[in-house]
Amino acid sequence: MADEYVDQLSIFLENKEGRLFNTLDVIEELNINIRALSIADTSEFGILRLIVTDPLRVKEKLEEKNFIVKITKVLAVAINDEPGGLNKVLKVLDDNNINLEYLYAFVEQKTYNAIVILRLENMEEGLKILKEGNSNIISSEEIYSM
């Protein structure tokens, strides 16, 4: 069965010149594609969030280089690239009192569908609600093979 959760890499970064470059450099060396990327930061430090095609290999390599890396389960939902597409998904969550921790989005090249990465306070419940609302959940296999 396809895994409905997607493994996201969360990486601790100091808010310092060159840190993002150094991180991405490690991934480039592995010849692994980055599907999506987002940064949450404060003035001193940030969290780099990545969806890559081979999270375990990237994690291992980054840890070798002394990065702190955690794997976080997230959901990927495809939405129609049209006004109000994202809102529909958020409304379902809101109606069911599922809190959103963060989200970021990217556009899938083949279909031009927007794909939203969601991290919810209650992932299990959120997944159930989204499925009931007929959201288009993208499995990890699909994401990695895009």
Partner: protein, 433 residues
């Protein structure tokens, strides 16, 4: 087992009698043989015959590191240089090094006190001691070496550094005792972990650590990482080296070898002796040292001493772990702060590694304290709120400990300098730049 039961379990009365006799002897020798003491005592109009009780020691002037430097190199020797068989020096980072000279008898006593301590930690002739203390002018390496040989153990004199080789030998030799400075020990632990070696693959049964400040939390980490008890060794080059005082299984204070080193605690401001159990500066007098007697040497180490019968059976006076140094003491916004307090606060939070640096600045007129702490997987969350929460929690813990606001910065792992040799730089004071 107790190495020298007669001395280590002696009654207080007998010990005081022995100490008084030795004190009278050493003061007489110093006065007669060392021009420095002759001059100082004559100026203070105090003479060997004025020492009638142990309390009379207070009549004698103190000896400081500055006095030692002024007598550089051999001015404090009480014997001709031909009778000195070994010399060590302090690191000399803050000026001329201080020299310590040993006669054959002194070296024997050094081995003897270290032998007592190693025995106290449960080490005997069956053990293999891997000694990562540096061999050289630093006293750490040789002190452990002499003690280890005295009890008939097998000593591996590897010195500091070459960490991978250290680990290889630990495994191949099945080293049972490891000696290190706490910061180097934690470095070894990191390497062991990154090599994928488990504590069970090694044969360690005990660790002796010293010559650097440490906290209980740091000890706990060392014990967890190596899965073995770790005991503190105290000493200083001027007095002898490691082996002045050592911890027993009780891990509740160090037994000070008071038959050789007479301890006093003084208030560093009034210079008066403080009663038992009061915190102050440790002052030591060598009671048996032949080559270079030191009388009322101000160690700058802050601790307390107390007499009690220990659960290990020894009656030797106990001193608490060193809580700071009178010269490490930072004056920040007029408040006295010891780096060890900040370390204690940091390590009170689970998952925090003892890799930190204190940076003092004075952007305008007010002192600012920044504490850089390495993040670790245990305190990293995929959530900015939680990360900021950890940072604030660290700042709060430090505030609770020292009463001052600090800025805590989380930095990436292994970005704060490690020590392959020597001591970690914990404080960077840029206030006068």
């Amino acid at each position: 087992m107790i190495w020298d039961e007669e001395i280590e379990c002696m009654s207080k009365e007998d010990m005081e009698e022995l100490q008084l006799k030795r004190l009278q002897d050493v003061v007489t020798t110093a006065f007669n043989k060392v021009p420095y003491y002759h001059k100082r005592y004559s100026e203070a109009e105090v003479y060997p015959e004025d020492i009638e009780t142990l309390a009379d020691i207070e009549k004698l002037p103190f000896t400081t590191k500055t006095d030692l430097r002024a007598s550089y190199p051999f001015g404090l020797f009480a014997v001709p240089q031909k009778d000195i068989i070994e010399i060590h020096t302090s690191s000399g980072t803050t000026g001329k090094p201080t020299v310590s000279g040993y006669t054959e008898e002194d070296i024997d006593i050094w081995g003897e006190v270290m032998a007592r301590g190693l025995t106290m930690m449960g080490v005997d002739e069956n053990d293999i001691i891997q000694n990562t203390h540096g061999y050289g002018l630093f006293t750490g390496g040789f002190g452990v070496h002499y003690g280890g040989q005295k009890i008939g153990a097998t000593v591996v004199p590897i010195s500091t550094g070459q960490t991978l080789r250290q680990i290889e030998l630990m495994r191949d030799f099945q080293t049972s005792m490891l000696i290190f400075t706490p910061s180097y020990g934690l470095h070894i632990a990191e390497e062991i972990k990154s090599m994928g070696i488990e504590p069970e693959d090694l044969n360690l049964k005990v660790i002796g650590f010293g010559s650097e400040s440490w906290t209980d939390e740091m000890r706990k980490q060392i014990e967890e990482k190596f899965q073995t008890p770790a005991y503190n060794i105290y000493g200083l080059t001027e007095i002898m080296g490691p082996g002045v005082a050592m911890e027993c299984e009780d891990q509740n204070g160090l037994h000070l070898y008071e038959d050789h080193f007479y301890p006093e605690i003084i208030d560093p401001n009034t210079m008066k002796q403080l009663p038992e159990n009061s915190q102050g500066e440790l002052v030591l007098t060598t009671l048996t040292r032949v080559g270079m007697p030191l009388i009322r040497f101000r160690t700058r180490d802050v601790t307390k001493i107390h007499h009690e019968k220990c659960s290990c059976g020894r009656t030797l006076v106990k001193m608490d772990k060193i809580s700071g140094r009178t010269d490490d003491m930072l004056k920040i916004k007029g408040v006295s702060v010891f780096p060890s307090q900040i370390e204690k606060a940091l390590l009170s939070i689970k998952g925090v590694e003892p890799h930190y640096q204190i940076i003092l600045t004075r952007p305008d007129v007010l002192d600012q304290i920044e504490v850089k702490v390495e993040a670790s997987p245990d305190i990293f969350f995929d959530n900015v709120k939680e990360l900021v929460g950890i940072r604030d929690k660290l700042a709060q813990a430090i505030h609770d400990e020292i009463g001052l606001r600090v800025n805590v910065t989380l930095v990436e792992p292994k970005t704060i300098d490690r020590v392959e040799s020597g001591k970690a730089v914990r404080v960077i004071d840029k206030r006068n730049e």
